[in-house]
Subunit: 144 residues, 2 copies
């Protein structure tokens, strides 16, 4: 989770919403990324999608059943869908996202009948650090 937080900090440094993600398999970090939606002009370039695409590229597979995903923020609807398609084994996330989350908020996708693979999910890892990063990023924008 420290790697994911580091990626979130790097994203903030690039002016991106500070969310970071890491995919781990066999005790090894296989892919790590922060949000790059602005840099890449790609609304799908959330940290989770970027690490899934990178790990799939390395594994030459569209499925990652032996992978665990660490991400600093509760995944959104788009990313929850991708996590399910990729057959991610476990999902660990930091801050809860009441406005855009789709795991324990919003559509709670993994609990729906149109979700065909549900990862084991653990929330609240490094929650305080993850939230602080997001709060510090958005605070000046709200006052400007």
């Amino acid at each position: 989770m420290e790697c994911a937080l580091e990626e979130a900090r790097l994203a903030a440094g690039r002016g991106e919403v500070p969310v970071g993600a890491v995919l781990v398999s066999g005790g090894k970090v296989v892919a790590r990324a922060g949000n790059r939606t602005l840099e890449l002009n790609d609304p799908s370039a959330h940290a989770e999608i970027l690490v899934i695409r990178e790990a799939c590229r390395q594994m030459r597979s569209q499925r990652l059943p032996a992978f665990d995903l660490y991400v600093t923020l509760e995944p959104c609807t788009m990313c929850a869908g991708a996590i399910s398609f990729a057959r991610i084994r476990r999902l660990y996330f930091g801050a809860e996202d009441t406005k855009g989350g789709a795991v324990i908020n919003g559509v709670r996708f993994f609990d729906q009948s149109t979700c065909h693979h549900k990862p084991d999910t653990y929330s609240g890892l490094a929650q305080s650090d993850s939230e602080t990063l997001l709060r510090e990023f958005f605070a000046p924008k709200r006052h400007s």
Copy 2:
């Protein structure tokens, strides 16, 4: 919609689930694609995501408020999220997807409070042709 169907047929020819998508702006087709999840080893490479990424690349923006999306199948949860993030103006789709759809089935994402942009949505365009393509693609697999 005929372009989207053509992309779906091309996807079937590559052994991919036959779904095609086209993004139109100002009466012009700006991006067209079929599913490429197998070819690209990328579970996010649904037709909708591919055309959104391509149009965003061309427009140098992560938002496409003047774009209309035509797709042969009801978008899934992942794609519905991406469509919303990209601020797509109108969504036209063909076949309904009771197992994996997220617009008029499943999580009905555009009607949820965690969805912050809802495209105008029209269903049933070229529905019969879209369904036939999918049925013909999956039928031999079911019997093998």
